[in-house]
C-alpha cells in the first residue's frame, strides 16, 4: 500500500492475505485515475447526463416557517435511481472498467446501492451480482425486482443476522474467491483502505455543490449541516467540504431504532472501538468482541459498523452524532411529506427528524439537510405501520 488508509488511528487494512494484492491494485488505480483528465471528463459526463447532476439545493419555505429556521434540502433524492449512491457507483464502476475488471459484486441493505450498482452494471455492460440479507430481500421487494430488471442477480444471504452486515461478509467471501476478475463495489465509506477514501472522493460532489449553492443563495455558510449516518457515505460526502469551516456544525443522525436501551443501529452514539469489515472504527459489539445485531426501521441504517472517518470526526468533536428512533424517523417522513410534498427515504427521514430537533433549540439558524434518497421504496413499510392496505 502507498498510503496507510488511516483517519487518525481509525481505518486501515484488516483483511485476509488473499485480498491485499487486490487492494494494492485498487489503491494504485484509484490514485492514478482520480486526477486523470480523461477519466474525470468521462465521469462528469455520466454524472451529468446519466445520473442528473447537479442536484438542486431547495429552500423549504413551508417547513422553514413551521420550524423557525431557514431550511435547505440538498436534493440527492432527485438523482437517477433515487439516491446519492449513484455518485459512487458511477465512479467505482468506471474505475473497474479502466482496471479491466470483468464482473461487479456489491452488497446492499435498503437496496439503493444495489440498484445503483445494477444500473451501472447495465450501463457498462458488466455482469453484476448483489448480495442482500434475506430479511432485507423481504422488506425491500420492489428494489429487488428493480435490480433484477436491470439484469443483476440478487443473492439472498441467509447467514447471521440476515441483514447488511452479513451481505457484506458474503460479498467479501465472493471477492476473496474471485478477486482476479471481480471488482467489489462497496457502497459506503467503510471497509478496508482504499474504500473509505475512494467512496468519500466520489461523494464529495455533494458537498462541493452544496457549498457553492448556499454561498450563492445566502451569501454565507450555514450554521449546521445534517445528514443520516449508516455506513456514512452521504454524510461524509456533504460534510467533506465543510470540515475545515469550524463555524459550521456537522451533525449525523444515526438509526436509533427502539432507543439506545433497546435494539438500535447507533454505532457512534453507543458503540465501542473494534475491527469489522476491514477497518478499525466504532462497532456495536458485546464485551467479548462479538459483533451485535443492529436494528433500524430503515434497512440502510441497520448496520453495526460505521466508516472510519466518522469515528475520527466523533472523537475529535468535529462532528456530533445523535440517535434518532424509528418513531422520530416516521415523524420526519410525515413532516417533509406534508409540508413540502417530498417523500424522503426512511434513511433521510432520520436527518429530517434531526433537523426538527436542532431547529427547536436553535431558532433563526440556517440548516442544510442532505436528502440522500427518496421514499418511494419505503411507502409499503409506512402503509403497514399506518394500517393502510395498498
Amino acid at each position: 500500500m502507498m498510503l496507510d488508509g488511516k483517519f487518525g488511528k481509525y481505518g486501515g487494512v484488516f483483511v485476509p492475505e488473499l485480498l491485499i494484492p487486490a487492494l494494492e491494485e485498487l489503491e494504485k488505480s484509484f490514485l492514478k485515475y482520480k486526477d486523470d483528465k480523461k477519466f474525470n471528463e468521462e465521469l462528469e459526463y455520466y454524472l451529468r447526463e446519466f445520473a442528473g447532476r447537479p442536484t438542486p439545493l431547495y429552500y423549504a419555505k413551508n417547513l422553514s416557517q413551521k420550524l423557525g429556521c431557514k431550511i435547505y434540502f440538498k436534493r440527492e433524492d432527485l438523482l437517477h435511481t433515487g439516491a446519492h449512491k449513484i455518485n459512487n457507483t458511477l465512479g467505482q464502476g468506471l474505475l473497474a472498467k479502466y482496471m479491466g475488471k470483468e464482473r461487479l459484486i456489491a452488497e446492499t441493505g435498503a437496496g439503493q446501492h444495489g440498484i445503483a450498482t445494477a444500473v451501472i452494471g447495465s450501463l457498462f455492460q458488466m455482469p453484476t451480482e448483489v448480495y442482500m440479507g434475506i430479511e432485507d430481500v423481504e422488506r425491500q421487494k420492489l428494489n429487488v425486482f428493480r435490480m433484477e430488471l436491470s439484469g443483476a442477480k440478487v443473492i439472498p444471504v441467509k447467514t447471521g443476522s440476515r441483514t447488511l452486515k452479513d451481505a457484506i461478509n458474503d460479498a467479501l467471501r465472493d471477492w476473496i474467491t474471485n478477486v482476479e476478475n471481480t471488482h467489489y463495489l462497496i457502497g459506503s465509506s467503510m471497509g478496508p483502505h482504499p474504500y473509505p477514501m475512494m467512496v468519500k472522493h466520489f461523494q464529495t460532489v455533494i458537498g462541493k455543490e452544496t457549498k457553492s449553492d448556499i454561498l450563492e443563495k445566502e451569501g454565507e455558510l450555514p450554521d449546521a449541516v445534517i445528514a443520516c449516518v449508516g455506513g456514512g457515505s452521504n454524510s461524509i460526502g456533504i460534510f467533506s467540504e465543510f470540515i475545515d469551516d469550524r463555524e459550521v456544525e456537522l451533525i449525523g443522525a444515526e438509526g436509533g431504532g427502539e432507543g439506545l436501551s433497546g435494539k438500535h443501529g447507533a454505532t457512534l452514539s453507543a458503540g465501542t472501538e473494534g475491527v469489522l469489515h476491514g477497518s478499525l472504527s466504532f462497532v456495536l459489539q458485546d464485551d467479548h468482541g462479538q459483533i451485535a445485531e443492529a436494528h433500524s426501521i430503515s434497512a440502510g441504517l441497520d448496520y453495526p459498523g460505521v466508516g472510519p472517518e466518522h469515528s475520527l470526526l466523533k472523537t475529535t468533536g468535529r462532528a456530533n452524532y445523535y440517535p434518532i428512533t424509528n418513531d422520530e424517523a416516521i415523524r420526519g417522513f410525515k413532516l417533509l411529506s406534508e409540508y413540502e410534498g417530498i417523500l424522503p427515504a426512511l434513511e433521510s427521514s432520520h436527518a429530517v427528524a434531526m433537523a426538527e430537533k436542532y431547529a427547536n433549540e436553535n431558532k433563526g439558524k440556517t440548516i442544510v439537510v442532505n436528502l440522500s434518497g427518496r421514499g418511494d421504496k419505503d411507502v409499503n413499510i409506512l402503509a403497514d405501520l399506518m394500517g393502510v392496505k395498498l
Binding site: 500500500m1 496507510d4 486501515g12 487494512v13 484488516f14 483483511v15 485476509p16 492475505e17 488473499l18 485480498l19 491485499i20 494484492p21 487486490a22 447467514t159 447471521g160 452486515k165 452479513d166 461478509n169 467479501l172 467471501r173 476473496i176 474467491t177 474471485n178 478477486v179 482476479e180 465501542t272 472501538e273 473494534g274 475491527v275 469489522l276 469489515h277 476491514g278 478499525l280 462497532v283 459489539q285 464485551d287 467479548h288 468482541g289 462479538q290 459483533i291
Partner: protein
C-alpha cells in the same frame, strides 16, 4: 509440562520422514466438553500440533462449515476467556504445539497485551488472526515477542515473492499457506496451482510451511506433503463430521478418530 515448540515438532516429524498432521477445531463446538473430547481424539490419533479456533460472529475468511461451527460454539457460551480455559484443559493431556486461529477484533477487544499474556499463561504457542496482515500487525508482533508467543501469518496464491519477504520478516513458528483461491471449506480436489504455490513459497522462505484451506482427504494431505509442505491443516472435513452427527457424541468421536488415523497415515512421505 514442557510444551513442545513448533521448531522441535517439525524436526521430530521430519526425522520420521513425515509431514505434520494438524487438525483444527473451533473451541467449544458443539459444546465445551465434547469439544475437549474431540481434541483428545486428535491427540490420541496422531496429531502433531493443534489448531484451535476462537469463534467470531463475522468470520469473512471462512466458509459455511467453519461459520456454522463458530455459531454453535458461540451459542454454547464460548468467549475469549473461556477459549483460554479450554486450552488450559487441553494442556492437561498434551504438550504438542497449539496455535490459536481467530479474528483481530477478539484480540483488540480484550486488549492486545492482555490477549497475548493470557495466551502465554494458558499454554498457547502461536496466534494467527485471519484478518491481520503484516501492515497492521506491529502491536500484535510486539506483544507476541513480549509474551513469548509466535505470530503466524498467511501466504496465498496472490502473494508476490517480494511481499513474501515482508511476511517472512514478521512471521515465526511456521508460515500458513492458503492452498486455494478462496475461503475455508472442503474441496473435492486440489489444483495444480496449489502444488506450484507450495514449491514457490518453499523456495522463498526458511520457515516451515503448513498448508490449509480446502484439504479434506488423505490423498490431498499426501499431495501437499509430497509437494514440499511441512504440515497439512485439516479443518472443514473434520467439522463436517460434527455437523452431520450432532446428536450422537460417540459417533462423532469414533468417526473423527478413524478419519484422523487415515489423515495421519497419509503424512508419511
Amino acid at each position: 509440562m514442557n510444551i513442545e515448540s513448533y521448531e522441535d515438532m517439525f524436526q521430530r516429524v521430519k526425522a520420521k520422514k513425515e509431514g505434520a498432521f494438524i487438525p483444527f477445531i473451533v473451541a467449544g463446538d458443539p459444546d465445551f466438553e465434547t469439544s475437549l473430547k474431540i481434541v483428545k481424539t486428535f491427540v490420541d490419533n496422531g496429531a502433531d500440533a493443534l489448531e484451535i479456533g476462537f469463534p467470531f460472529s463475522d468470520p469473512v475468511a471462512d466458509g459455511p462449515t467453519v461459520q456454522l461451527a463458530d455459531i454453535r460454539a458461540l451459542e454454547a457460551g464460548m468467549t475469549t476467556t473461556r477459549g483460554f480455559e479450554f486450552i488450559k484443559r487441553v494442556r492437561e493431556f498434551t504438550n504438542i504445539p497449539i496455535g490459536v486461529l481467530t479474528y483481530y477484533n477478539l484480540i483488540y477487544k480484550m486488549g492486545i497485551d492482555e490477549f497475548y499474556k493470557m495466551a502465554n499463561e494458558n499454554g498457547v504457542n502461536a496466534i494467527l488472526a485471519a484478518d491481520l496482515p503484516p501492515e497492521e500487525a506491529e502491536d500484535a508482533v510486539k506483544a507476541a515477542l513480549k509474551h513469548d508467543i509466535q505470530q503466524i501469518f498467511m501466504a496465498a496464491q496472490t502473494t508476490s515473492n517480494e511481499r513474501l519477504q515482508k511476511i517472512n520478516n514478521m512471521c515465526s513458528g511456521f508460515l500458513y499457506v492458503v492452498a486455494v483461491m478462496g475461503i475455508t471449506g472442503a474441496r473435492s480436489e486440489l489444483k495444480t496451482s496449489t502444488v506450484e504455490l507450495i514449491k514457490r513459497i518453499k523456495s522463498h522462505t526458511n520457515l516451515p510451511i503448513s498448508v490449509g484451506f480446502g484439504i479434506s482427504k488423505p490423498e490431498q494431505v499426501k499431495e501437499v506433503i509430497g509437494a514440499g509442505g511441512d504440515g497439512a491443516i485439516v479443518a472443514s472435513a473434520i467439522l463436517n463430521i460434527i455437523t452431520e452427527n450432532l446428536n450422537d457424541e460417540d459417533l462423532i468421536i469414533k468417526k473423527i478418530g478413524e478419519f484422523c488415523r487415515e489423515l495421519n497415515e497419509s503424512t508419511k512421505i
